[in-house]
């Protein structure tokens, strides 16, 4: 065909950037960033304005989170004080700028009754109803019910009276189980009602318009969710590595996995630095970043594999550089489109979508970078190593030039 066709191109096809030669200084930057990500964790825990390694949502540390809409303008510290006087210690108040006078209130209590209160209530019950009468006042954290176990029947009113005396407001007290069990169930008032009461008392009646969202996670459930999150990340990495081993060969595996760890760590680091909320959704976003970063690396590796059979006369490092250059246009285009979409979600989205998009924005950038500057050098290094050991089967690996 004589007529040469012209395309709309961002990158000329005859370009040949030297990527492989520049890996050393860039690898240094990568290491520095990874280090920074890790340093931020203990640093965050001692910073007075932060206090936790990551801004863990209640998913991971347990507790209660509510969105409270107020009828007037208030500052976070005013709300915090009001919560404090209502008995909710150490509450965190985060303004939600997307909404009018809306705040996220977070505190550690997951049930309307604290262990100290429960203990006090048991003492008062024993005092009033008699030591021998009360067998046990059972209450487990996270529950919204308590159980009073007695040795003989007592009027419901008497129990309600004693509970009120020890500062416990109840929705209902009723018999539980068989009559001869003499067990009474105490239904406690919901946390959101308690919070509304606390805020309205201090800030004036009608201050709270509504509490449209409530989430609470018990400490045990929080630990489970955290463990599951870590397991899922490890499982994903393991399975992906397995797939690479099957589809490519052993030299390709470590490169992809190191690149993917690099990306996951940097995304976590971004959350540590910005102190954005780190929740279950963030784990999902990191997993998506991992998938995306893999996608990117595989496109480059696929081309390398193809070129090694085509360009037998060239050195492996050269082949890698050619392959990266050949796929560069695609890499940049794809990253640009995904970045565009996630940027739109970040700017115009809300809540979960926004946090998710933020993670993806960071992930797309580091993922693109890592497939060129992290995965490829590791592949070259491993290839050289395996070649050297094939040539000199008895030589020690320490003699291999890197």
């Amino acid at each position: 065909m004589s007529q040469k066709q012209h395309f709309f191109e961002l990158i000329r096809p005859d370009h040949n950037f030297d990527f492989v030669g520049k890996t050393r200084p860039l690898l240094g930057i990568s290491l520095l960033l990874v280090l920074l990500s890790f340093v931020m964790l203990p640093l965050n825990s001692i910073l007075p304005s932060r206090g936790h390694a990551l801004n863990f949502a209640i998913d991971f540390r347990g507790g209660t989170e509510m969105r409270v809409d107020f009828s007037k303008k208030l500052t976070p510290s005013e709300i915090r004080d009001a919560m404090e006087s209502g008995g909710f210690k150490d509450s965190e108040v985060v303004p939600l700028p997307e909404f009018n006078n809306a705040f996220l209130v977070r505190f550690t209590a997951v049930s309307p009754l604290s262990p100290e209160q429960a203990k006090k209530a048991e003492g008062t019950l024993r005092d009033r109803l008699g030591q021998d009468t009360v067998r046990k006042f059972e209450f487990s954290e996270g529950g919204d019910k308590a159980y009073v176990r007695l040795n003989k029947p007592v009027g419901i009113e008497a129990i309600v009276g004693v509970l009120n005396e020890s500062g416990i407001t109840t929705a209902q007290v009723q018999r539980f189980g068989r009559p001869e069990d003499n067990t009474y169930e105490v239904v406690l008032i919901g946390l959101d009602t308690e919070v509304r009461k606390a805020l309205d008392t201090k800030l004036g009646a009608g201050s709270v318009v509504s509490i449209p969202q409530v989430g609470s996670v018990g400490a045990k459930a929080g630990k489970e969710l955290r463990d599951n999150g870590i397991i899922s990340l490890l499982a994903a990495i393991g399975f992906i590595m397995l797939y690479i081993l099957v589809r490519f060969d052993f030299r390709y595996g470590p490169g992809t996995v190191i690149a993917l760890l690099h990306d996951a760590i940097l995304v976590m680091g971004a959350f540590a630095i910005t102190y954005k909320e780190f929740s279950l959704t963030t784990i999902a976003a990191i997993l998506t970043v991992i998938g995306y970063s893999m996608n990117d690396t595989i496109v480059v590796f696929d081309r390398i594999r193809e070129n090694t059979t085509r360009l037998r006369d060239k050195k492996f490092a050269q082949i890698v550089n050619i392959s990266v250059n050949e796929t560069l246009s695609r890499t940049i285009l794809t990253s640009a489109t995904v970045f565009l979409v996630t940027l739109a979600m970040n700017v115009w989205g809300t809540g979960v979508i926004r946090d998710f998009a933020f993670a993806m924005n960071v992930g797309v950038i580091v993922g693109t970078y890592s497939s060129i500057f992290v995965a490829s050098p590791v592949l070259i290094w491993l290839n050289d190593k395996s070649n050297a050991s094939q040539r000199k089967p008895r030589a020690k690996s320490g003699t291999t030039p890197v």
């Binding site: 487990s140 996270g142 919204d144 068989r178 919901g190 899922s232 589809r247």
Partner: protein, 607 residues
């Protein structure tokens, strides 16, 4: 043009039409506008699946309860203690045996303490065999006449498992009565997961209390015409000034069959607290006998014609403490209407044992009143007209309340009665409630970002690849249709993260196209004809695209298996997106390319 091309076009068209049809019910839901086609019976029969909106989009409750299984074990141990005491006294004539439980759950030990060493020998192997299913001997102290039992390990497992499954059934039945569409009640080890979508904010507390409710239904005999109540009435009469609104009332009725006259005294007040205070402050000579108790009922005051008025008052009943019958014998409860008053009522059915008990009790107490007590409150105390066989009884819901509210009350009551008490208490470990206004707000915001993101990608592809970009955009549209159709077929739940996944899929959908197009461009640059360039481009790029998709799919599968709630929604959307993606970008756009390059000998390709 090859014949196979036409086959492909026909196959893709059918697939697209099917997908569009599958989506009709879902789209209707979102638009809230039914159309003619979907109202046809045949259509409903074939296509009834749709995408549900997640809790975060339409508001609702997500609760996780942990069943306190050890309490169920401890309770059983307590009941066994009583049985052992009773049996030893009855069969072996050993008096003064005390059985006490130490420890909870699997650690529970029953210490059977005999008054003398010789008595302890009466607990022989035969006796032990009767309890073998539940207990095994765990040492003892011969000198002190003490024998220790522990609960059988298998039986403990059975009890625990039963407590959870019974809890699931109980909650399921209660939730089903709420009229929530597609409630989810699942078991996960010792946890029970409850998801209720589309509830209004005001319902949250009601629902939560209903789920955890442990209603106790009891039937007790009213002790009529006692001297005690006359004394109490006189006392109340003389202390009216001290208790605001306290009054004394008299019942009088004639038993239908025998014609015997009955009469009784009761106390009443507008405020229940007044009555409770009065009873609490009774002088010691008027203290309620230990085998009796006084409970209250909320009734409507009758006017002079004996008709009920809007006026409500609390009245007392003097009852035998012993429950003749409890909710345990109940098999069924139903909401009905009392034909005389038009009020909702709850009819209950007993099992055979309960029915025979009920028949015996009613037979022995004709002319007297039996109180139906729910949660320590007298619901009603009808006079027994005669022996009642068949094991049926009715609870009428009283008062001139709002009829809707009454019916709701009746339904809630049925839900509680039908499933009885929970076998073990529940502990809430996880809770999310989303107000119904929050969902649409989030959807709107998500919609904006989705439209902007999608438009950006569409325009970008058109500018960069022109004709081929158009193909990619069309393929992307199909991709979204297929993806939603798959979600509808799976009856998946669309959550906020799920929407993010759909948008993300759009971003990734073009990725496959970009890989292929860049390849085609390379082939064109190398001097190939458009037709062979398309062929080579698709052929060479296929495995790259495939590998890239599989790795993403791995991430999706992992997310699905470990995630919960909204994360699962994300994973489902992601996986469905990846599969549809592979199909549209590799095969569907290939067909479109074949069409552009295959019609005539084309010299150039718009790419």
């Amino acid at each position: 043009m090859e014949r196979s091309f036409y086959y492909r076009v026909v196959a893709y068209s059918i697939l697209t039409l099917l997908s569009a049809a599958v989506l009709i019910p879902s789209v209707e839901d979102w638009m809230q506008r039914p159309n003619k086609l979907s109202e046809q019976a045949w259509f409903k029969k074939i296509i009834n699946r749709k995408i549900a909106l997640g809790l975060d989009l339409q508001g609702g409750l997500h609760l996780v309860y942990e069943v306190q299984v050890d309490k169920a074990v401890s309770d059983k141990a307590d009941r066994l203690s009583a049985q052992i005491e009773e049996k030893l006294a009855k069969d072996k004539k050993v008096r003064g045996v005390k059985v006490r439980r130490e420890g909870d759950g699997a650690e529970a030990r029953l210490h059977v303490v005999f008054p003398t060493k010789t008595d302890a020998r009466k607990l022989d192997a035969a006796f032990e065999r009767e309890f073998a299913k539940y207990l095994t001997r765990d040492g003892g102290n011969d000198a002190a006449g003490e024998i220790i039992f522990k609960m059988d390990a298998d039986y403990i497992d059975e009890l625990r498992s039963y407590a959870v499954s019974q809890g699931v059934e109980t909650i399921k039945n209660r939730v089903d009565k709420l009229g929530v569409t597609e409630p989810v009640v699942q078991r996960k080890q010792n946890d029970i997961i409850v998801e209720l979508a589309g509830l209004s904010q005001g319902d949250f507390e009601r629902v939560k209390s209903l789920i955890g409710k442990t209603a106790q239904l009891e039937f007790k005999m009213v002790d009529d015409g006692t001297e005690y109540m006359q004394k109490l009435g006189a006392h109340a009469d003389s202390h009216k000034a001290q208790y605001f609104g306290l009054d004394v009332g008299y019942d009088a009725w004639t038993a239908k069959d025998s014609g015997t006259q009955h009469s009784d005294v009761y106390i009443k007040a507008k405020d229940k607290a007044t009555l409770e205070k009065f009873v609490k402050e009774l002088p010691s000579e008027l203290a309620i006998p230990s085998d009796h108790e006084i409970l209250f009922e909320l009734t409507s005051r009758r006017n002079d014609e004996g008709e009920e008025t809007q006026d409500k008052v609390w009245r007392s009943y003097y009852l035998h403490r012993r429950a003749e019958l409890t909710g345990e014998y109940l098999t069924d409860a139903e909401v009905g209407w009392d034909p005389n008053t038009g009020r909702p009522e709850v009819s209950i059915t007993f099992d055979s044992e309960g029915a025979s008990l009920f028949e015996k009790i009613s037979g022995n107490n004709v002319g007297r009143r039996m109180a139906i007590i729910l949660d320590e409150k007298v619901n009603s105390a009808p006079t027994i007209e005669g022996r009642i066989g068949g094991g049926r009884a009715r609870i009428t819901l009283g008062g001139f309340s709002d009829p809707y509210q009454l019916q709701q009350e009746a339904k809630d009551l049925v839900a509680v009665l039908r499933t009885g008490a929970l076998p073990a208490p529940l502990k809430k470990t996880f809770e999310t409630q989303v107000g119904p206004t929050l969902g649409p707000e989030a959807v709107n915001k998500a919609k904006t970002s989705m439209i902007i993101g999608t438009l950006a990608v569409i325009i970008f592809m058109l500018v960069y690849y022109r004709g081929a970009g158009l193909i990619a955009d069309i393929a992307m549209m199909f991709n979204v249709v297929f993806l939603l159709a798959v979600l509808a077929m799976l009856q998946a739940t669309l959550t906020l993260p799920g929407i993010a996944a759909v948008v993300l899929t759009i971003g990734m959908a073009v990725d496959a196209n970009i890989i292929i197009y860049e390849r085609i461009r390379e082939e064109l640059r190398a001097g190939k004809s458009p037709r062979s360039a398309v062929q080579a481009g698709f052929g060479r790029a296929f495995w790259t695209v495939f590998d890239a998709h599989v790795t993403n799919l791995v991430a999706g599968v992992v997310l699905y298996s470990y995630g919960t709630g909204p994360i699962r929604g994300f994973a489902v959307s992601l996986m469905a997106g990846i599969v549809c993606n592979l199909f549209t970008s590799v095969w569907l756009s290939r067909a479109m390319f074949d069409w552009t390059v295959g019609r005539k000998k084309v010299a150039t390709l718009s790419i």
